[in-house]
Symmetry: C2
Subunit: 379 residues, 2 copies
């Protein structure tokens, strides 16, 4: 895997991450395909919108259908019919946030499946073994994702565990004949000194890229922004930097400003299914009765399939009827909006006008759209 920085604009940077399955232009957004499918989309639709990489969840695929099944079918790319790069998380985050029963020891984590209550044990080695079976392009180390709030003492012990596990992941990984890449994860909660310590330890082990984990777990935005601002300058310049689980575009703007390259989040897809749509005039809740007879496109400045072919009235109708096509058309639009946002952001960095881009977009991203003219003046 090669990481080539094309242009820097302040700390913001645009680069090429070259993998054997294709190039990823960064800053990049990775749509989330929890069960091996970006919800409501075919792989071709995701690709045609312009995405170069998707994320899938090791925890979910391990439980269902099982990594051995996917390996037998020929790996995750063949299984899900996506030929581009795939990043898999390590399962750590889901185990901490979803699993009903879990016991963390230095050896690993014992937990019960959220599907059938069956008992499982995942060690750092096992997490890599599973991801190798899946055959993803970028694997993540097994870490402990600390919840918010957490006592400093707990977080201090936790980053030690995360370091030990990262070492074990790296050691196990190096013994395998695989041409996959492995990213390390920096933890440390909202404590700047612990973040710095975790960073040093993880970088010392050495990985193909580095992620900031354990943010967007309920902490105040100021904490998230401060951690990103403090950690990024200490991260290796020549490796991709990935801010895990963050995808609010306002947060993205702040993170890119400080040199983050990769993002993933369910926000565009989940919001779409719930009828919340991003537009060049602000967020729209499509169920609002004001759209009942609205014969205009969702976003007149958008060229997506949804905006080219349907009215707000029809989108509202589909949403009210809970039709599957509602989730499809909304997801197409939100993914398109995100994709174009990232494209324009990369261009802005390349042209040295990232700050203008940020100033232009912040008010749009903060606004709720309404057809009532008043709404444009106070929000």
């Amino acid at each position: 895997m090669q990481f080539k920085i094309l242009k820097k604009d302040g700390f913001a940077r645009t680069a090429l991450l070259e993998t054997k399955r294709g190039v990823i232009h960064t800053p990049a957004f990775m749509p989330v395909g929890t069960n091996g499918t970006v919800k409501a989309m075919t792989p071709e639709e995701v690709r045609d919108i312009g995405y170069e990489i998707i994320l899938s969840n090791t925890y979910h695929l391990y439980l269902r259908p099982g990594h051995e099944t996917i390996k037998e079918i020929g790996g995750i790319h063949r299984f899900i019919n996506w030929q581009g790069p795939i990043l898999t998380d390590s399962g750590g985050f889901q185990i901490y946030s979803l699993a009903s029963l879990r016991k963390i020891t230095s050896e690993g984590v014992e937990f019960r499946s959220h599907i059938d209550g069956s008992l499982h044990f995942i060690s750092p080695e096992r997490a890599i073994e599973i991801q190798i079976a899946l055959g993803s392009d970028i694997m993540m180390v097994f870490d402990e994702c600390v919840p918010y709030p957490a006592e400093k003492q707990y977080v201090e012990k936790s980053i030690k565990l995360t370091k030990d596990w990262a070492e074990r992941c790296k050691n196990y990984f190096e013994k395998q004949r695989t041409n996959q890449s492995l990213f390390g994860i920096i933890q440390g909660g909202v404590y700047d000194d612990l973040r710095e310590k975790s960073l040093e330890e993880i970088v010392k082990i050495g990985f193909d890229g580095y992620a900031i984990g354990g943010l967007s777990v309920g902490e105040p935005k100021e904490d998230m922004y401060r951690v990103v601002k403090n950690v990024t300058p200490l991260m290796p310049e020549d490796k991709p930097r990935y801010l895990m689980g963050v995808g609010d575009l306002i947060d993205v703007l702040h993170a890119v400003e400080h040199g983050i390259d990769m993002f993933d989040c369910v926000m565009p897809t989940r919001n779409a299914r719930n009828g919340t749509l991003f537009t060049s005039r602000g967020r729209i809740s499509i169920k609002r009765s004001e759209f009942k007879d609205d014969s205009t496109a969702l976003d007149p400045e958008c060229d997506c399939y949804t905006c080219r072919n349907y009215t707000k009235a029809f989108l509202r109708h589909l949403y009210m009827c809970r039709e599957i096509l509602s989730m499809r058309l909304n997801t197409i639009h939100n993914l398109y909006f995100y994709c174009k946002f990232f494209e324009k952001m990369r261009t802005a960095i390349a042209e040295g006008r990232f700050q203008d881009f940020k100033k232009e977009w912040l008010p749009v991203l903060e606004k709720n759209f309404s057809s009532e003219p008043d709404d444009f003046h106070h929000s």
Copy 2:
């Protein structure tokens, strides 16, 4: 609207139904788009599979979003983004089967919405007015769909009502400046003499096509087949014949054999969402554990998007996860299977070998597929 018979093979016939929005090759299957969307599909997908006409439900569109809204947006074709012909039912069937509270008088039907309980009244004139507002290509008269079982005395009164309403629909229709077509509906339950009487009365009024209604409502198959067999020879030869709500392909074979030209049914789409898939080797329930590691296509003889790109293992996985893509891929396959079945059936009729076609397909349609080899020998 022009109806041109190309070839007859026994009573079976293949024809062209020419509308101002395109030609329909018959025998034709019409996918059902209850709320203006064939569930889980975009209009382009339905068209690209090969469908030339879809059906939509007046009752549902009248209640939500309302025919006035659709008219304001520019009619149903623009609203739902389907440029081909659309047939709308009259709402009669849904009012009888869905509405919680209904009162039938000679004037029309008073009923409560299944959505919000609001009170509505639909007369024959109103049913046509709504369909004219929608702008469908083929409208259906407002009829009484008699449940099964029903006393002969009740059915006798009912066909009188259906005749009166058909006359009122025709009269109202003739006063409007519309280039839509209007089909009459024959009722009469499972009583041969009443069917014959209803047929004579409806044909006497004169319509652009004739439908057999009130079948597939719970009556034994023998009754359905007998009614179709007895009624069809008395239906005008030079007008399209439509068997409403029937779409089991075994029933279709029997009906086409007796000269039926058009069908609609939720079966391929609803079964798809429930994981029941039609294949050249019989019906498959995709959730069966035997498919967990099955790396072969759903139907090796099928060229649909689903069969070209995905394994049974993946389709089972998506189904078990209740993913939206499961419903999409399954619906694409079932609609494709139906479309190809009708195409092959038309060719068989054109080539004078409909009986061979029927003999070849009946055992396939009756079979449940299993990967267990034994299943091929006894079923």
